[in-house]
């Protein structure tokens, strides 16, 4: 087992100055390609930055107003350090680059995608099975979509799948109707920041009754030092429709901190189903502060599947507002915190109608000095009846230095609703590792298998190619984490 590292004794300033990654082989992500940044907003954030972004994107005046208003809110709001980690104070907002574009129009075909970007996909090791999906991929390369192709099949069904800039330009009425409604600008400091400087992300509209057979996919990566990425995604599933959206994230390694702050809004109208799947592996200097929420109307269903690996700090609590009767919300979440990482994740379920049900299953793995925190909110007000919630949080510790905290806030009022909550903390014990080693597995392989076993019941619910990728990421993390 790996001895404690020096991280513990380092001051916050030291940690900020140096890459806090200890003993992790991140070379797989250790590359970056020269990019000709035709448009660049420079570093720092001011009204000028926001105006610059809006003008480059040739946006309507209402949107500029929206952005400027959001900027004011962002500047006025304090960091949420009264409940969240003080590490947030180490983000230097004046050193972040808020907008960067290759000056490219979104690409339509694979052939038109620059070789550099293809090479990046190659280096990311996207499995063959997933490459076939790439034809339908909306991939954000830095802040603009470098490749965007709606598959014939999807567009024939009337599905809109474009980047958010294009969505705003071509479908302003539809966009405006739902944009910022699920997550108001001032929801939190980072949703305000995103609202001020967002670019990229996806806009999806699925018409009534359309069931999209193929999952829509997007890959995101950060490619410029000090570059914050602020994508904005809005998915609207009209009555009775169904869609699965998957995002995978991986990023090259940098020496200074970088910020990722996305906002994702989902709207599932009557009887619609949305499944949103994330498997992310951010570089270990990334602050990943994301707001994700969906509104489920009558008989609708929203399911978040969220895997957080990597990053310096992730704060993410996907939520569902159960607005219509019999709406269902689900969050399945897996977090792996390695040395120098803090995964602060969880879920929010807001019951606002009778007979609504929600299910939260969260599994966290803490390795070495890694820290996992679960925060959950379940709210069932007194006047409702027939509401049900199930919450399960399981934590796995892979050495005695790991830290895990659980903060479940379950408010169930009235006597006509039901909730159950289970939490467990377990350790990968030495006997189990010895047993596996005795069968010929190295310590790293044994750890990796134990972790994969721990999350197996959740990972099984993922699409095949994603569970394969998740396993590969865990193998990589675990093999680097033993001495």
């Amino acid at each position: 087992m790996k001895p404690p590292t020096e991280i513990e004794t380092m001051s916050a300033a030291d940690t900020a100055a140096e890459n806090p990654v200890v003993g992790i082989d991140q070379t797989a992500g250790d590359f970056s390609y020269k990019v000709d940044y035709a448009f660049d907003a420079g570093t720092g954030l001011s009204e000028d930055t926001v105006r610059y972004i809006s003008s480059v994107k040739k946006e309507a005046s209402w949107l500029l107003e929206f952005r400027l208003n959001a900027l004011k809110k962002f500047l006025a709001m304090p960091l949420p350090t009264h409940w969240a980690t003080k590490d947030l104070e180490n983000i230097d907002f004046s050193k972040i680059r808020y907008y960067l574009s290759q000056g490219q129009k979104p690409k339509r075909t694979w052939d038109e995608v620059p070789d550099d970007i293809k090479k990046t996909f190659e280096r990311l090791g996207i499995p063959e099975q997933e490459r076939k999906f790439l034809a339908g991929v909306e991939a954000q390369f830095d802040s603009e979509a470098a490749y965007s192709n709606i598959k014939d099949l999807v567009s024939k069904q009337g599905v809109i799948f474009v980047n958010s800039t294009e969505g705003l330009r071509e479908h302003p009425e539809l966009f405006k109707k739902f944009f910022g409604k699920v997550i108001p600008t001032g929801d939190n400091k980072f949703s305000a920041l995103n609202s001020a400087v967002f670019s990229g992300g996806s806009f999806i509209y699925v018409p009534k009754g359309v069931k999209v057979a193929q999952p829509l996919q997007a890959y995101f990566r950060i490619n410029a030092e000090n570059f914050g990425q602020f994508e904005r995604t809005l998915i609207i599933a009209d009555e009775g429709s169904e869609v699965v959206y998957m995002e995978g994230c991986t990023a090259p390694k940098f020496s200074t901190s970088t910020l990722h702050s996305a906002v994702v809004e989902l709207v599932a109208l009557k009887g619609a189903k949305i499944q949103y799947i994330t498997v992310q592996n951010w570089a270990n200097n990334v602050f990943n502060l994301v707001t994700k929420r969906g509104v489920a109307h009558e008989d609708a269903e929203i399911k978040w599947i969220d895997c957080n690996i990597g990053s310096r700090l992730t704060m993410k609590y996907p939520g569902v507002v159960l607005k219509g009767e019999r709406a269902r919300g689900e969050v399945l979440s897996i977090a792996l915190a390695n040395d120098g990482q803090h995964q602060d994740t969880g879920a929010k379920m807001i019951h606002a109608a009778n007979n609504t049900t929600s299910n939260i299953i969260a599994k966290s793995i803490s390795v070495g000095q890694g820290r996992s925190t679960y925060r959950g909110v379940v709210h069932i007000p007194k006047h409702l009846k027939g509401c049900k919630n199930n919450t399960e949080c399981d934590a796995l510790l892979i050495n005695s230095n790991s830290r895990t905290d659980t903060y479940p806030a379950i408010t169930v009022r009235g006597d006509r609703n039901a909730t159950q909550h289970e939490a467990s903390v377990s350790k990968v014990n030495e006997e189990m590792i010895f047993y596996m080693q005795q069968r010929g597995l190295t310590e790293g392989q044994a750890m990796s298998l134990a972790v994969n076993g721990f999350i197996n019941d959740l990972a099984r619910q993922f699409p095949m190619e994603y569970s394969v990728e998740l396993k590969r990421l865990i193998d990589l993390e675990m093999e680097g984490s033993v001495g």
Binding site: E430, Q437, Q438, L441, T442, L449, N452, G453
Partner: protein, 251 residues
């Protein structure tokens, strides 16, 4: 022909010496039984050979085919052909037996080599047929919620798949009913042959009714104090361990 040589081995847990100079050589094709009362260091011996981190080897050597394995990690020893059938095998939640064995096979391949999945399953199923194990068994998580008999069956299947040069069977029979005992015995007898050497560690003679050993050793206070053939086990059964104790005193 392979050999497992244990030379004047001393093993300690913390400050306490448990094995106090034990020597024994096992060759392929041989089955050796080590018998002895509780607390004489039988289990310690097997775990120390397998490389358990809690057991410190304070003297002597263990060699496989003339090469010392003491500097090797537990997994290297396993890949060198030493298999330990555990008295209390660990549970591995969420990992199926099939996947576990697949990972163990994969770990034996060189870098960049991929296990042929089709061939692997074919082999797994043929071994299961040989050991009369139901196909559904390998989709269950390793040892999780298993009965005593199922745990032994799982150990035997792993042994059959990994084809070790030497199997150390640690109190394999303890707490087993007669049916479970038969599973173990049938498994070992099926695998018995010129390529396998076995060290059977047992407290009771009854296992030796089913697996007939070539050699029987009596362990006492960290050493082998008496060796013989299978008749020694019967004698021990008839006279009890006190008989050995008395002999030791008079000697």
């Amino acid at each position: 022909m392979s050999s497992l040589e244990i030379k004047n081995l001393h093993v300690a847990i913390g400050d306490k010496e448990i094995v106090k100079g034990l020597s024994l050589t096992i060759r392929s094709g041989e089955i050796h039984a080590i018998m002895g009362p509780n607390g004489t260091g039988k289990s310690t011996l097997s775990k120390a050979i397998a490389g358990h981190p809690d057991y410190a080897i304070t003297g002597g050597d263990v060699l496989v085919d003339g090469v010392s394995i003491l500097e090797q990690e537990a997994d290297e020893r396993a890949r060198a052909g030493v298999f330990l059938a555990f008295q209390y095998p660990s549970e591995i939640p969420g990992v199926s037996i099939a996947n576990f064995l697949r990972a163990a096979q994969q770990a034996r391949l060189g870098e960049g080599e991929e296990l042929d999945a089709t061939a692997y399953y074919k082999r797994l199923y043929s071994k299961m047929d040989l050991l009369k194990i139901d196909r559904k068994f390998t989709s269950r998580s390793v040892n999780e919620g298993f009965s005593g008999g199922e745990k032994k069956r799982c150990e035997i299947l792993q042994m059959a798949m990994l084809e070790p040069k030497f199997a150390l069977m640690d109190e394999t029979d303890s707490g087993l009913d007669i049916d479970a005992l038969r599973i173990v015995a049938d498994g070992v007898n099926t695998m018995r042959g010129p390529n396998l050497g076995v060290l059977l560690i047992t407290h009771y003679q009854r296992l030796l009714d089913y697996i007939v050993p070539d050699f029987v050793h009596v362990m006492w206070d960290g050493r082998i104090v008496k060796s013989g053939d299978k008749s020694l086990a019967l004698e021990l059964e008839a006279k009890g361990y006190d008989w050995v104790k008395k002999e030791l005193v008079t000697a």
